[in-house]
């Protein structure tokens, strides 16, 4: 059996030594699947992403990506991460194309000169998020949703096997949101694995194979969407209020048995 795309085992972390932000969280993601990460504001979704990426050192537990330590997987360019908000200087003198090209940088040679293949991958990624027309704009000269798409394109250009997307649907319009779900399905069909946090519970069943519910600073439960997204579980996750009136009855596509 091949190693899972992502294996988070009993991880606990704290910010600056304070109280725990995650306690004993466990989550596995099999290759070629999309897992939706759901929980209230402050539940710990972004914290989980940062822990997986090694930006917050776990106090306990461990994370492996395709059976390797995270740092090793990062060096091999296996993980693409798009944070909830980009913490960059929007006046920086780089174009959208420059930024997307940065997704390829890890695989470039000593002097990091983009090859023809790199340029093609950048072009394709820009086209995939319909940002081709904005490629030569300075990165700050974009709307919020366009900025999100530019950084998503960077992750696509990286051509990673595991994608970690922290709220890619935050602040994007309906059309873009549908584009992104289509994009994620394409990625999964191509064998990529995706962990994606979202507040759009209605859309979960249309594109996620698995769902992980996060509450009380830990992963409450995780599994195939149809079984996991029950009114009962949602009520537990959202403190008694079930935001979905109609719990998942029909999954978007039959979830295969693992």
């Amino acid at each position: 059996m091949s190693a899972p795309a992502l294996d988070v085992q009993g991880v606990s972390v704290a910010y600056g030594g304070g109280r725990l932000a995650l306690r004993n969280a466990t989550l596995t993601l099999q290759p070629g699947r999309i897992c939706g990460l759901v929980g209230m504001n402050g539940a710990g979704k972004s914290t989980l992403f940062k822990t997986i990426m090694g930006f917050l050192p776990p106090l306990r537990g461990q994370v492996q990506v395709f059976g390797q330590p995270v740092r090793q997987a990062q060096k091999a360019g296996m993980i693409a991460y798009v944070p909830q908000t980009e913490d960059v200087d929007w006046d920086f003198p780089v174009s959208v194309r420059d930024v997307v090209t940065m997704g390829r940088q890890g695989r470039m040679g000593l002097l990091r000169r983009p090859s023809a293949a790199d340029r093609e991958a950048v072009q394709a990624a820009l086209a995939r998020v319909t940002m081709t027309d904005f490629a030569e704009r300075q990165i700050g000269e974009l709307s919020g949703g366009q900025r999100k798409r530019a950084f998503l394109a960077r992750a696509l250009a990286q051509d990673a096997r595991l994608l970690l997307l922290d709220e890619p649907f935050g602040g994007v319009d309906v059309g873009t949101s549908e584009d992104i779900t289509g994009l994620l399905r394409d990625l999964a069909r191509g064998g990529r694995s995706v962990l994606v946090s979202t507040h759009d519970l209605g859309a979960l069943e249309t594109f996620c194979d698995d769902v992980a519910l996060i509450e009380g600073r830990t992963v409450l439960t995780a599994g195939p969407t149809a079984q996991t997204l029950t009114a009962e579980n949602l009520a537990l996750t959202f403190g008694g209020r079930s935001p979905l009136h109609h719990p998942a009855r029909t999954p978007a596509r039959p979830t295969e048995v693992r």
């Binding site: 990426m53 090694g54 930006f55 740092r71 990062q74 060096k75 091999a76 360019g77 993980i79 693409a80 991460y81 944070p83 980009e86 913490d87 960059v88 200087d89 920086f92 003198p93 780089v94 174009s95 420059d98 930024v99 940065m102 997704g103 940088q105 890890g106 470039m108 000593l110 002097l111 990091r112 000169r113 300075q138 960077r154 990286q158």
Partner: protein, 291 residues
């Protein structure tokens, strides 16, 4: 007319002048390339700090008969380590720590100067003296500057990514700790190479003004580098040349020229200059009123 021309060309007849022009333009170029990273990273104060903090090292090197670049470089690295050490172990804000450390080291250097014989060479470290640069100092400057330039050019794309988005740099497997240290070491090396030309006190201008000027002129990093180098070298040549007639203060002349170029860019830059901005606002208002 001929007399004027002869007078203007006179400086070029001297070996020391040619040497000074060469050294100052090399230094201008190296500092300009680095200034693009320093201004974007927001490290102006760090540059100022390291340049002041080299003073005790220079004095010590003089006393021990070592090349001045060795003392300066060591002293610069010590200041950086001290800043990092104190910052990670106290709640004092970074810019405050930087200020405390560099003024302390600079004062130490001043006290040391006042204790050793009032040798002209040491006071030249404060303000630079490229017109009187010795063969030995020239080589030290060239080697330090060339090393810094080579390092920046090799690492430029990784440094750029690190400055723009360290999170992403780490995500794709780059060693951000190394890049941070490399940028600091290159900064120290560049400062050391510029000491003979502009001196401790004005070095920081060379490390930020060309980058700031170029930043006003373009939205593309590669063009920013080219423009920074152009303004840096031009300022070095004009400043050094002008200082011949003033009989000194070369560093100040170079920095003044850079400041004038910055002022021009601030007013007249095609997109980010004051006039262009005003014009843009006016056009937008008029279009809105008509539409």
């Amino acid at each position: 007319m001929d007399a004027l021309l002869t007078a203007l060309l006179a400086p070029l007849g001297y070996d020391f002048m040619l040497r000074a022009l060469l050294v100052s333009s090399l230094v201008g170029a190296v500092c300009a390339v680095l200034s693009c990273f320093i201004t974007l990273k927001g490290w102006s104060l760090m540059g100022d700090a390291i340049s002041h903090a080299v003073l005790p090292g220079v004095v010590l090197a003089y006393l021990m008969n070592l090349p001045f670049v060795v003392g300066a470089f060591a002293s610069g690295l010590i200041s950086v380590s001290a800043i990092g050490f104190i910052q990670s172990r106290s709640r004092v804000k970074e810019d405050t720590v930087i200020g405390v450390v560099f003024t302390a080291l600079f004062s130490l250097g001043l006290v040391m100067i006042s204790r050793v014989s009032s040798d002209v060479h040491l006071s030249h470290i404060l303000f630079g003296d490229v017109l009187g640069i010795s063969q030995d100092e020239l080589w030290q400057t060239v080697i330090a500057g060339a090393a810094a330039l080579a390092a920046i050019l090799i690492l430029r794309r990784d440094l750029l990514l690190y400055v723009f988005d360290p999170t992403h740099a780490r995500s794709i497997g780059l060693n951000t700790g190394f890049l941070y240290a490399a940028l600091l070491v290159i900064l120290a090396l560049t400062i050391v190479s510029a000491l003979q030309t502009v001196g401790v006190i004005l070095v920081v201008a060379m490390l930020i003004t060309p980058g700031a000027t170029a930043y006003l002129l373009t939205d593309r990093f590669s063009r920013m580098m080219g423009l920074a180098v152009a303004t840096g070298v031009l300022s070095s040549l004009l400043g050094t040349y002008a200082s011949y007639f003033l009989d000194g203060a070369t560093g100040a002349c170079i920095v003044l020229t850079q400041s004038v170029l910055f002022g021009l860019a601030f007013l007249f830059a095609p997109k980010h200059g004051q006039l262009a901005r005003r014009r843009q606002q006016r056009l937008e208002r008029e279009a809105e009123l008509q539409g």
